[in-house]
Symmetry: C2
Subunit: 305 residues, 2 copies
């Protein structure tokens, strides 16, 4: 096969800024994405931590268009495009492919539960056939703690056999290293790129042939995570991993999405960053204090941007 170098490394599921009236705030989104790129962090916009499933299809399209209009390089962008409805997934995926995005991160349809592998195979096949574009690169998104519906090895095997170019890899947010390892062992050698869903598994993932990580905490700690991605063969890699884990544990001691936004609000001196869309709620003042105190104790720094 002849195709461009695929995206590897560290990506952030970029948190989506809202105004007080809950409308998306494209200017802050653009600024944040530009900063993440300066940290060598790719943009997995519209992920779980982006509250993507709290955005309409049109809101996602408008936000992606705003990024591209601001000269963000689409080759560093991997938007989430997986919805419950086939037609929504096709629309978002087509839009991303036409925009030249590096790939798309695709949830399985997650409303109906206990669906068959055959049903999921037909779903992804139908998306690929309808998009019908040789530039399409899908990263299957396995996040059973939230989506409940997951990506099984049998499904990956069938899809890879039929669509070896379009099915480019996966993000494993199972939180279970054994599952990531199993996917790496089964499909890694054939060029299937496995991203860990958390930097907690970054070192292990790299040692086993993984492609990097797509992690919530990359929103606030991208440089250190990217450093381990580049230096995983160094003697201090275990120490770097431990330091990343401490930051993640500190930020994630409460609900991750409002915690990330609280950290953003604090370090950027912009209280609007704390706004989440319901059904999520912001952290309490006491929780914010715990997170910020914890970060200061470990001498964590994030530039105001």
């Amino acid at each position: 096969m002849n195709f461009k170098q695929r995206i590897h490394g560290v990506l952030a599921p970029v948190i989506t800024p809202f105004n007080k009236n809950l409308s998306p705030a494209p200017e802050r989104f653009i600024a944040r994405c530009k900063w993440l790129l300066t940290q060598n962090c790719g943009l997995a916009v519209f992920g779980t931590n982006s509250e993507a499933n709290s955005l309409s299809v049109n809101e996602r399209i408008e936000l992606l268009d705003a990024l591209l209009a601001a000269d963000i390089n689409p080759e560093r962008v991997m938007p989430g495009t997986g919805c419950c409805a086939l037609t929504d997934t096709v629309r978002l995926t087509e839009h991303a492919v036409k925009a030249g995005c590096a790939g798309v991160l695709m949830l399985p349809p997650f409303y109906y539960k206990n669906v068959s592998e055959e049903g999921l195979y037909r779903y992804f096949s139908e998306v690929i056939e309808r998009v019908g574009d040789s530039r399409l690169r899908i990263y299957l998104y396995h996040i059973p703690p939230i989506a409940v519906v997951g990506i099984t090895p049998g499904l990956v095997e069938r899809l890879l056999k039929k669509y070896p170019t379009a099915v480019a890899g996966m993000k494993d947010s199972s939180g279970n290293w054994e599952n990531t390892k199993m996917m790496l062992d089964a499909f890694g050698k054939s060029g299937f790129d496995v991203f860990a869903g958390s930097e907690s598994f970054l070192l292990a993932n790299m040692k086993n042939g993984g492609a990097g990580c797509i992690s919530a905490t990359a929103n606030v700690n991208p440089a250190a995570i990217d450093k381990l991605y580049r230096e995983w063969r160094n003697p201090d890699a275990e120490t770097q991993q431990q330091e990343l884990d401490v930051v993640r544990k500190t930020v994630g001691q409460y609900e991750m999405i409002p915690a990330l936004k609280a950290v953003m609000a604090h370090y950027s001196n912009d209280p609007d960053w704390a706004t989440v869309r319901p059904p999520l709620i912001e952290l309490s003042k006491g929780q914010v204090k715990d997170v910020i105190d914890g970060l200061e104790k470990i001498d964590f720094k994030m530039p105001a941007i």
Copy 2:
């Protein structure tokens, strides 16, 4: 309060017909809805059994508009409008209210799990405030086996207190009669309409002050279910209930949605009715045979329409 008589009785989550290419088939949908109305069955279009979550927002709006353009009475229609994204839910709900629908059946936002009661309260409040129409009647949709996120009594209590007119009732598809009974006991007397999510609980629901049922099987067995709704005080009500249960058990021995569609395809001599959107798959030929044989054994009839 001064408002019109609210919708009561039996409603079907109308199965959505697709063409072979998976596009919705409005003509068959209209014909089916008209037939259901002749059976005294209300139209809970875009429910779980309608594969509503496999339809885009625009597809739902177009199908509802097609029904109304075909002179279906909106006062017999309760469309499902609850999506993961607040903005989608508002758009669908506004559209239904402006169309004069009897009410809307509203799922909680179901992507993020373990969300707080406060977050769900904010979500529903925000929808009600944004729609801002005194005609709005919301039926909260509790279906934890599929949506996972559910409707708690604490949430109902808070919403009813703030929005006693807009929050009109609920559909309980927990499959747990104790939960339905608890909701009836807590809120039934204040005029909150509890619909059982299956006709299996119709008699019990009516005996305890319920409003009727919204049930999958009403797609194929509406007259008999409506008969029990009207005659639940009759001496033969228990017998009627048992007969309904046999039909439901026969249809639902395999996956309910493809089974309902297989029954429709068989009795209407229209194989296209069997088409489902992925991730669902149609029943196997053997499964279809089991269902149809079972129905014939109990002398079940459905007119070809």
